[in-house]
Each structure stands twice: as C-alpha cells, then as structure tokens.
C-alpha cells in the first residue's frame, strides 16, 4: 500500500518539527512505497539517502544474519548484479546513531560488495542501488543485535601499540573468470566512531581500487559504522592481461595507504 499524500505531508511536517529536517520536495509529488521492513525511520532514511524515485526491488539481494552473533562485526553482502547500469550503492542502518555505512561507486566493477558493520541495536540494514535513470532500487534485512556496537571502544584500544599496525593489510585476490576478479581485503584500522567515551572520531573514509593504468574500478566512501579493521569484498572487472590491482586508502586524519594486489591467472579448475 502506498502512503496517501496527506500522510506523507503529515509525516514530513512531523519530522520537520521533531527532527529539524527540511521536507524534501519529492515527498509532495512522489509516493514512497511502503517499507517492507516496517521501520519508523523509513521516510527519514529515504529522504536523506535515496532522494528521488524509490522502488522496492527484490533484485537487490541483501544478505545479513537474523541475529548478530558479534555486534561489532555483522557481515552484510549486497549483490545487485541483476540490475544494469548501477551508478552507486548506498547502505544504511536505520537505528544506528550514525546510519550511513558506505557508498560504493562500482565504476568498473560488478554491483557487489561485502562488508561488516557495527550495530548499536537491532535495526534494518537498508541498501539503495541507484541506476542510470536516477531510480533508487531499495531492499534490506532486519538484524537483531544485543547492542553497544557503535559506542564501545575498538578492540585496538586494548593494545598499547595499535598504531604500529595501522594500515597493515591482508588480501586475497583471485579471478572468477577471465574478465572478473574477486578481491577480499582487510585493512587494519580502529574505525573510531567518536561515540565511545574519550576516543575522538578516526576512521578510514575512502578506498579506491584501480587498474595498473590508474583507471578507477571502484570507489568506496566509508563511514563510522564500518567495523574495526574494515574487510571489503569486491568484484572488479579486469582484462585478462592485468596481473595486479592497486588499492588506495585514506583515513580522516589524512593518513594514506597504497597497496598492490597480485591478480593470479585463471586456474584450470
């Protein structure tokens, strides 16, 4: 069922009053589909992160556990490869104190990403995939969690010398086909949200995957909810003569890190 215009306007006014937010113009002329996850934050999330036309689309596959076994490292995998012409993928957690998890621009990569997120409480994880026509294709899952993920200090702060391994990286790269690589990379970083007492905000906020020629294959903006030691899985498109991928990462203190990941030739199996 679609919200009536009056309801949408009513909610818009309410959110303007209570949250001090501007009412987006779209709320007046476009109808927002009903939220399959039945979240109180739906209108707010949609207007903040998916401005414009929104459709609920099962072709956006969002995998997440029903229960967070570890609320500091909740695994989420997004597969939007059934959609053509994907411009960006935006992931948000409705009920996190900082909802925005990441934005992926899969310039020359499949519309696919795996990541891990800190959850402050049970929440919908919502993913909007914007295609070239501007439409947001949205889907998501609800994850139950014990809580405290965003306001707890990173495990790194239990160590005296965490800064010595800052930016250290581990990665596995392989070819899924002649034209497609799979890249799993883990970057050592505390990813401080600024919400744990006495620990200022400090997180890795940008990652770029490039070809040896310097072409950007995928660009990721990351935000505070990404788990400590961000672990990302991507599927860059590579031609068969490419034997390495370059990864560039930067954090909010402007520390920069560069890595070269070998891409093995396709194996016989």
């Amino acid at each position: 069922m679609l919200k009536t215009i009056q309801q949408v306007i009513g909610l818009g006014i309410c959110s303007a009053i209570y949250l001090g937010l501007a009412v987006d113009a779209y709320a007046l002329d476009a109808e927002l589909p009903e939220d399959p996850l039945n979240s109180v934050m739906w209108e707010n999330m949609a207007s903040r992160f998916f401005p414009g036309e929104v459709v609920i689309d099962q072709r956006v596959i969002v995998q997440g556990p029903l229960d967070a076994e570890n609320q500091m490292q909740v695994p989420i995998t997004v597969d939007a490869t059934q959609l053509d012409d994907v411009k960006q993928i935006v992931a948000v957690a409705d009920l996190n104190p900082i909802p925005h998890i990441l934005t992926l621009h899969p310039t020359r990569a499949q519309a696919f990403i795996g990541f891990r997120v800190k959850l402050e409480q049970a929440t919908p994880i919502r993913v909007g995939v914007q295609t070239g026509d501007g439409v947001w294709h949205v889907n998501g899952v609800t994850v139950n969690a014990a809580g405290g993920g965003c306001t707890a200090p990173a495990l790194a702060h239990g160590l005296n010398d965490w800064y010595k391994t800052l930016g250290q990286a581990r990665a596995i790269t392989r070819r899924e086909s002649e034209e497609l690589a799979r890249l799993s990379v883990r970057l050592q970083h505390p990813m401080d949200t600024g919400l744990a007492p006495g620990i200022p905000v400090f997180y890795m906020n940008q990652i770029e995957v490039k070809s040896p020629a310097g072409d950007v294959l995928a660009n990721i903006e990351m935000f505070e909810p990404i788990s400590e030691n961000p672990t990302l899985t991507l599927k860059p498109l590579v031609s068969d003569n490419v034997d390495e991928l370059l990864v560039y990462a930067r954090d909010t203190e402007a520390n920069e890190f560069n890595y070269s990941l070998p891409v093995p030739a396709i194996t016989d199996n």
């Binding site: 995998q63 997440g64 556990p65 076994e69 570890n70 490292q73 695994p75 989420i76 995998t77 795996g114 891990r116 014990a146 930016g167 250290q168 990286a169 581990r170 990665a171 596995i172 790269t173 392989r174 799979r182 890249l183 799993s184 883990r186 672990t231 899985t233 890190f257 560069n258 890595y259 070269s260 990941l261």
Partner: protein, 325 residues
C-alpha cells in the same frame, strides 16, 4: 507505546494489566502462567541421574533449559555436575534432587565450563562447595555478568533474581574423593579455554561437558578447534562405561565423540576453504551442509554462528599480508 502494547488484548486482560495483577497478561501463553521448569531426572547409571534439557537455542519458551545437568548419589551425599541457566533452574534442580535422593546433602557442585547454561544456577548452592579449575573461575569472573545480561535479553523473566556466581573452590588435583566416592578430574580445553571433564570412578560415567555434543550441533563461540580435537582424543581413550554430553542424550558407544569430531573437522576445513576463496561470511553461511550433519538439531543456525566465530581468526591465518607500497 502503551496503546500498541495493549493491542490484541481482551478487555479483561487490559483490566488485569491496569490493576497491576499481572505484569504481562497478554504477551503469550508462556507468560500467562507462572514460569516453571518441568525438570525430570533420568537414571542413566546406578545412582546417577541426568536432567536433560532440550537441544534448542535459548528461547522465551524454554527459559534456557537446553543443557544436561547431572547428579550422583554418593555414600554420604550428592554430587552435582553443572547448575543450569538461571536461579529459578537451580531451585528446581535442588527440589528434584531432594525428591529423588531425600535427605542427602549436596557435597560438591562442579562447573564444566563458563557458558551461561552451565553455571547460572550456582547461586542456590552453598558457595564453599562449588568447584572448578581456576581458569573456569577466572572466565566466569570476567565474562559471567555479560552472559547473565545476555540471558535476560534472550529468555526474559525466567532469569529473575539470577546473578553470576563464580565457584570458590579451585580444583587442581587429578582425583577427588567426595562423600565416599572417588572422581577423576581431567583438565581439558578447546570448547572454551578451560573444560573440566569428570569421571565417576565407581560407575565409569564420564561427564564431558560441552566437549561432546550428541545429535545436536556443537557451539563454537570460544572454541579452539585443534585443541578441542585433542581433547576429544583424550576422552576417547578413557576407561568408561557411558558419556553424558553437555547437550543430547547419553552415549554408551562413544558416537558423540566421533560425531563432534567429524563435525568440527568439516567445519574447520570448509571455513578454511571459504576464507581462502575470499568468500564473504554471508556467502559462507549459505554453503550447503553435508547430508550426514543435516539431522543434527539446530545445525543451520549453529553453523551460521560458527562462521562468525571462526572467520576473523582464519583471515589472520590465511589472508596473505601485503607490503605497503
């Protein structure tokens, strides 16, 4: 908020609620009645009773009663192995012991490890008889309160009045005589950092704690799989008549050890493979389970939990370190 809570309640229930005569008159049948564990003792060997829990997860319906607890009649009293998930469970257990072995005092309580379903009934027993290896005591002191909090979240009012109480007796000898009966104590680990295995030398019953699961998928939140496998080998060669696993029915053939070992071996190997392929945890969770494990209780959910437990350490082990450029 209040009005949504009351939706679906009958007028009588609402009135009851407003009168304060019931805290939650309409939240479901389990809460409509006074919560009570329906504990039953099964004599698995001479003078040895198992109190079997279900092989489910913690739920609001089972109140955390998913664990095997045992008690043994010895010449001068009773020995208890593990105390269940809550104070209320501990009280029910004490009543069951008194009904089964009337007039005999509990002389010794062992905790096999520090997981909440095994020790949160401790507080109903005299403090100076509750015993475990020092590492289990330390584990309870550091993690017990967190476990208790989480149990309140998972099973709710069943936990009322429950507090995390660590054993006061630190075991270190390889045998112990209690009330005229000799027990052998084996200081193993792998399911957690300290797992106590107890053998009643008279009956040959081995209380394996959660080193053995039987027809129920093993849990791995604190597991070290390689050490766990070594511990299973150690139990396999013990002189024994019967094993009471931490979860599942008693086992007189040792099949529980083989099943646990087989599952852990498969789990470890397939997690290594998944990590090596760069699969995401979610993709690993969707891998098919081998047919021989599909009949294990709660295997689908335990397997998914184990992916989360094992992946980070396996990434440390299997993902090559990159040199910064």
């Amino acid at each position: 908020m209040t009005s949504s809570l009351l939706e679906g309640c009958s007028r009588r229930q609402v009135l009851q609620l407003l009168a304060g005569s019931a805290a939650c008159a309409c939240c479901g049948s389990v809460h409509a009645n006074k919560l009570a564990y329906d504990l039953a003792a099964t004599e698995i060997a001479s003078g040895t009773w198992a109190v079997h829990g279900s092989t489910e997860h913690f739920t609001l319906e089972n109140g955390g009663n998913i664990v095997n607890v045992a008690f043994i009649e010895v010449p001068d009293g009773v020995v208890v192995v593990d105390t269940g998930p809550s104070r209320r469970y501990g009280e029910a257990l004490l009543q069951l012991i008194e009904k089964t072995v009337p007039g005999k005092p509990v002389l010794r309580v062992y905790n096999t490890h520090h997981h909440p379903d095994h020790f949160l009934g401790n507080q109903v027993f005299k403090e100076n008889i509750v015993a475990a290896p020092q590492q289990i005591i330390d584990n309870i002191l550091s993690e017990g309160d967190g476990f208790a909090d989480n149990m309140y979240r998972l099973v709710g009012d069943w936990m009322r009045g429950t507090a995390s109480i660590a054993p006061t007796v630190a075991l270190q000898d390889s045998t112990e005589e209690v009330g005229g009966r000799k027990f052998s104590l084996f200081y193993l680990s792998g399911h957690t950092s300290s797992d106590l295995v107890i053998r009643d030398d008279e009956t040959g019953v081995v209380f394996s704690g959660d080193l053995a699961f039987y027809n129920r998928a093993p849990t791995t939140p604190h597991a070290d799989i390689n050490i766990w496998q070594e511990s299973l080998q150690s139990i396999a060669v013990l002189d024994r008549e019967l094993i009471l696993p931490g979860h599942g029915l008693q086992d007189n053939t040792g099949e529980s050890l083989e099943q646990t070992s087989d599952y852990l071996n498969w789990l470890h190997t397939s997690m290594q493979d998944a990590t090596g392929l760069g699969l995401t945890m979610n993709e690993a969770m969707e891998l098919p389970l081998p047919a021989r494990f599909r009949s294990l209780d709660v295997v689908e959910t335990e397997y998914k939990r184990s992916v989360v437990h094992m992946y980070l350490a396996l990434e440390d082990e299997l993902m090559p370190l990159l040199e910064p450029k």
